[in-house]
């Protein structure tokens, strides 16, 4: 199925467009606006952002870097759909500005693994079918990765606490819990 020619997204999947837009100048930025050059590491690559330093990281990731993982859910730091990892901690990318991550390491699911070589947490989420619509899943994966780095053998209550700020509306919580437990076992 992965190479399905009829899949309207398959052409996007073929080539990783990478971060080309990040390293090029933003359009229409002649006057007025404060422009800054901000350097950070994104999924293992050094990238440069030229533009409004107050721009929330979410839109830099989604629109400049063309990453699909982090999602717009609320823009209010309430739902966790846009979570990413910044220097080993989860960060809510809809309220963190690109300026905030200057010099930092930013990780999204894309930086964790690929189809051929998924991260153990991604593998566990796929294995336990821990997604229905899947819109919240990127944030869940991010939280799980950070949790397991801090606490390789979390109890169920600790998993629940770690994911307490991440909303899921489909009711996939049991599968997500199972995914985190399985990943913990794999990683230990």
């Amino acid at each position: 199925m992965s190479t399905n020619e009829n899949d309207p997204f398959s052409i996007l999947k073929d080539g990783d467009r990478g971060f080309e837009r990040l390293t090029t100048q933003e359009e229409g930025d002649e006057t007025e606006e404060v422009e800054e050059t901000i350097e950070f590491e994104l999924n293992g690559e050094d990238v440069t952002f030229d533009g409004d330093p107050e721009k929330p990281l979410l839109y830099v990731l989604r629109n400049d870097a063309e990453l699909n993982g982090p999602k717009f859910g609320c823009g209010l730091a309430q739902c966790g759909s846009c979570d990413v990892i910044v220097d080993g901690e989860t960060a809510i990318s809809c309220v963190v500005t690109v300026d905030d991550v200057e010099g930092s390491e930013v990780t999204t699911t894309r930086g964790l693994g690929t189809r051929d070589d998924p991260h153990p947490v991604q593998e566990a989420f796929i294995d336990t079918q821990a997604a229905q619509c899947g819109y919240c899943i990127h944030g869940m994966v991010m939280e799980a990765v950070v949790l397991l780095e801090d606490n390789p053998d979390p109890s169920d209550d600790e998993i629940r606490d770690a994911l307490a700020d991440n909303l899921c509306r489909c009711g996939t919580h049991p599968e997500i819990m199972a995914a985190v437990r399985q990943a913990a076992e794999e990683m230990n």
Binding site: M1, S2, E5, N6, D7, P8, F9, S10, I11, L12, K13, E27, G28, D29, E32, E33, K55, Y59, R62, N63, E66, N68, G69, K71, F72, G73, C74, G75, L76, Q78, C79, S81, T108, T109, R110, R115, P118, Q122, F125, I126, Q129, A130, A131, Q132, C133, G134, Y135, I137, H138, R160, L163, A164, N166, L167, R169, C170, G171, T172, H173, P174
Partner: protein
């Protein structure tokens, strides 16, 4: 698929009288003699075999008019197709709803996808396989019933073989379905009934483009085909448009439901970096910018720049229940068996109660999103829309209406996934918004995503409802009379029945149309209002309120959620009056064998009657056959009620489900678990607040939903019925869960909460 194939498919569709090229009557073993009057599932409306299945280039393309909503329908349909055709699942390319290419199956709703599309594909695949076997028999000089198939390779057992790919011709597979070829018997199925990993999950977990939100270049996906599949001349013709960059739009909705846009001082907005256009058309207000962040910033400015005058048209939440009883009403008797009135008069004991369900949200995690563009040349204008609507064909109708005053020669809608919707949310409206904004920038592609407050305030909610019931017991504690009244606004205002929000808000906007109730047996406000139990005298009255003042439409399970909550709560109240065990009491009143089985199975699995509970804990059961004609589900809930605060925690929920023949047990389990958790959230927390002007809940702090720390342990026992019709699963556990929780709370604290949500305050009040 190339355009050539599309053309030829259409041609064959047009000449629908074309006979199937091979006789079907020769293989007596696998055919039935009589022609069915009505074709099964969606074949009835879409009988052409090649509108469902096309075999080409060693691939099998299966078309469905249904869409993936996170319920796993894609995976189940791939399983069905692969199994029935005897090909590997990897060989199936499944195309979901597009107006250009797939059958019109209306909406993906009502837990109907397996019944409609699953059934159609099953029969179409069985027939295609038979046609191919007949062709192979000719080629191999063998009898069709002696042949076997493995991943499309047909063998006669004597070393001779051919393949589907060699023998399949467009002509052979272009006829109308007869449905005379019986699908495989259950014991011959190898893929159906087995757990299969969802085909859409890896991409979602790996951050690959999976949603309409991820669409960045419409040239990639225009017209439902990837650009590389198009003939060169068409690519050239589209070159000019291809170069057009995706713009980003946002809308500014009025601060109340009925509002007039008095003025907009948009000068400052137009000067903002990247802003292309401020669109003002009557009360429709939006902005288009080059980047998403620019559009969001511009929208914020525009919110401040707009002056609205808002009418006070709503009752406000505190007056809701009075208002429901006073509003204009269309009254019908939904059920009248025996004589409920006399029976209640003669009963040894009668009880009465009123139950209430407030407005509740779909509350998708991702706000609704769509991409639209208008491709035009000298002669023609075509609107292309990518949408997570539940119905691409109905949306197409609504978009045609939106542009009825200007030239629009074609409208194409292609489904791409969005955030889970659980019914009719903002998906269709945002598609209209994107189309209007694209129109304002000469058709350039525009992606619009609603902001959180747009979704919370403007999605159509699940209707508030009142359920009033009287019941009578005889001396033996048997229910002999039942009189039930339900008040409800409509449960579907989907387009094109009602206009899109943008269409209403434009200058000379499209007027709202009259709402009709969804008729029984499925029903809207009446869904599951008629007890499945054997009460001798039953009356059910539907007080349909046709003119909603709060925006309402289909929310998962429609009226079934509140009706099952009320009905099954009241059955428990009567059981208590009769001093009977709730499970035994239900079984005493129920003859339906499949219903009895799920009740018994759930009770057993939950250790009903034997489980040790703390003093502050309680156990309750709820049961329903969804719509009284689909899946059977019983849920046993175990709750803890905090002595001091009255706060309810659901500790555990154990369900039993009979959805007919199971295609993917993992999928059924996930739907039941998810349904229980979502319903528990509705039941304990959710209640839309609104004043005289409009809804007041802007975000998740105003309208909280269940989070990880409060999610119960869930279990489900699956009752499989191989060979029985698919009954669907998505909405079956919503109602039983609500009742099970209410009954468990009553068991824990000996006090009954009859108004949803079951908040700590209401528990405390009930205990006093």
């Amino acid at each position: 698929m190339s355009d050539e194939t599309r053309m030829s498919r259409r041609r064959f569709v047009q000449s629908s009288a074309l006979a199937v090229a091979f006789s079907l009557g020769t293989s007596a073993k696998t055919t039935v003699a009589t022609t069915q009057e009505e074709l099964p599932g969606s074949l009835e409306d879409n009988p052409e075999l090649d509108s469902w299945i096309v075999i080409r280039d060693e691939r099998v393309t299966v078309y469905t008019g249904k869409v993936e909503l996170g319920q796993g329908i894609k995976t189940s349909l791939v399983q069905i197709s692969a199994d029935e055709l005897d090909v590997d699942v990897d060989r199936i390319d499944l195309i979901t709803a597009e107006t250009e290419r797939t059958p019109d199956e209306g909406y993906t709703a009502g837990s109907q996808s397996m019944e409609d599309s699953g059934t159609a594909i099953t029969y179409a695949a069985a027939e295609v396989r038979q046609i191919l076997l007949e062709a192979a028999a000719d080629e191999l000089d063998a009898e069709a019933d002696q042949l076997s198939v493995d991943d499309g390779t047909v063998t006669d057992g004597n070393g001779n073989e051919t393949t589907y790919w060699e023998i399949a011709t467009e002509e052979a597979l272009a006829g109308e379905a007869s449905a005379d070829v019986e699908p495989k018997p259950a014991d011959e199925k190898e893929i159906v009934g087995e757990a299969m990993s969802r085909i859409d999950v890896p991409g979602k977990v790996l951050g690959e483009p999976s949603y309409v939100q991820d669409l960045r270049d419409t040239a990639d996906v225009r017209g439902g085909v990837t650009i590389r599949d198009l003939p060169e001349e068409e690519i050239d013709a589209r070159d000019e448009h291809e170069a057009q960059e995706l713009l980003h739009g946002r809308v500014v909705r009025p601060s109340g439901y009925e509002a007039e846009l008095e003025s907009v001082d948009d000068e400052a907005v137009l000067e903002m970096e990247g802003v292309r256009e401020v669109v003002r058309d009557g009360n429709f207000l939006g902005v288009v910018a080059e980047t998403e962040w620019q559009a969001i910033q511009a929208r914020e400015e525009l919110v401040d720049a707009a002056e609205w005058s808002v009418e006070e048209t709503l009752p406000g939440r505190e007056n809701l229940w009075e208002h429901l009883r006073e509003d204009e009403v269309d009254e019908t008797i939904a059920e009248d068996e025996g004589n409920a009135e006399d029976a209640l008069e003669d009963a040894a004991e009668t009880l009465e109660a009123e139950y209430r369900r407030p407005y509740q949200m779909h509350a998708s995690i991702g706000p609704s999103c769509a991409v639209a563009e208008i491709v035009a040349d000298d002669q023609e204008r075509e609107l292309n829309v990518w949408t997570h609507s539940q119905g691409v064909y109905p949306l197409r109708e609504a978009l045609i209406e939106l542009f009825e005053d200007e030239q629009m020669d074609d409208v194409r809608c292609t489904h791409l996934e969005g955030s889970g919707c659980y019914g009719h949310n903002g998906a269709d409206d945002v598609a209209g918004d994107a189309a209007l904004l694209s129109d304002a920038v000469d058709g350039q592609p525009v992606r619009v995503q609603w902001m959180r407050e747009d979704e919370h305030r403007w999605e159509p909610y699940g209707s508030a409802m009142i359920m009033e019931v009287q019941g009578g017991l005889d001396d033996d504690g048997t229910i002999v009379g039942w009189d039930y009244d339900v008040w409800s606004y409509p449960h579907s205002t989907r387009p094109p029945g009602q206009p899109l929000l943008g269409g209403r808000q434009r200058e000379n906007g499209i007027e709202l149309r009259e709402n009709d109730p969804i008729p029984l047996p499925t029903g809207g406000g009446t869904r599951n209002s008629i007890p499945l139990y054997e009460f001798e005298n039953t009356r059910v009255t539907h007080h349909f309120l046709p003119e909603p003042d709060v925006r309402v439409s289909a929310l998962r399970a429609l009226g079934g959620y509140a009706n099952v909550f009320a009905l099954e709560s009241f059955v428990d109240e009567l059981a208590a009056a009769a001093d009977a065990d709730p499970v035994e009491f239900r079984l005493d009143h129920l003859e339906d064998e499949r219903g009895r089985e799920v009740i018994e199975t759930a009770a057993d699995a939950a250790d009903w009657g034997d489980r040790e509970l703390d003093d502050d804990q309680g156990m309750g059961i709820g049961f329903a056959q969804y719509k009284n004609l689909s899946a059977y589900c019983a849920v046993v809930a175990e709750v803890t009620v905090d002595d001091d605060s009255g706060e309810v925690t659901v500790d555990r929920a154990v369900a039993a489900d009979d959805s007919g023949e199971i295609v993917n047990p993992d999928g059924v389990r996930q739907q039941i678990w998810g349904g229980i958790i979502q319903s528990a959230s509705w039941t304990l927390y959710e209640d839309v607040d609104f004043d005289e002007e409009g809804p007041l809940d802007d975000d998740w702090s105003d309208y909280p939903i269940m989070t990880f720390p409060d999610v119960p342990e869930v279990e489900v026992e699956l009752v499989d019925r191989p060979g029985e019709p698919y009954l669907g699963t998505g909405e079956t556990s919503q109602g039983p869960t609500a009742a099970a929780i209410a009954n468990a709370v009553s068991d824990a604290v000996d006090a009954r909460v009859r108004q949803l949500p079951i908040t700590a305050e209401r528990v405390e009040d009930a205990m006093e």
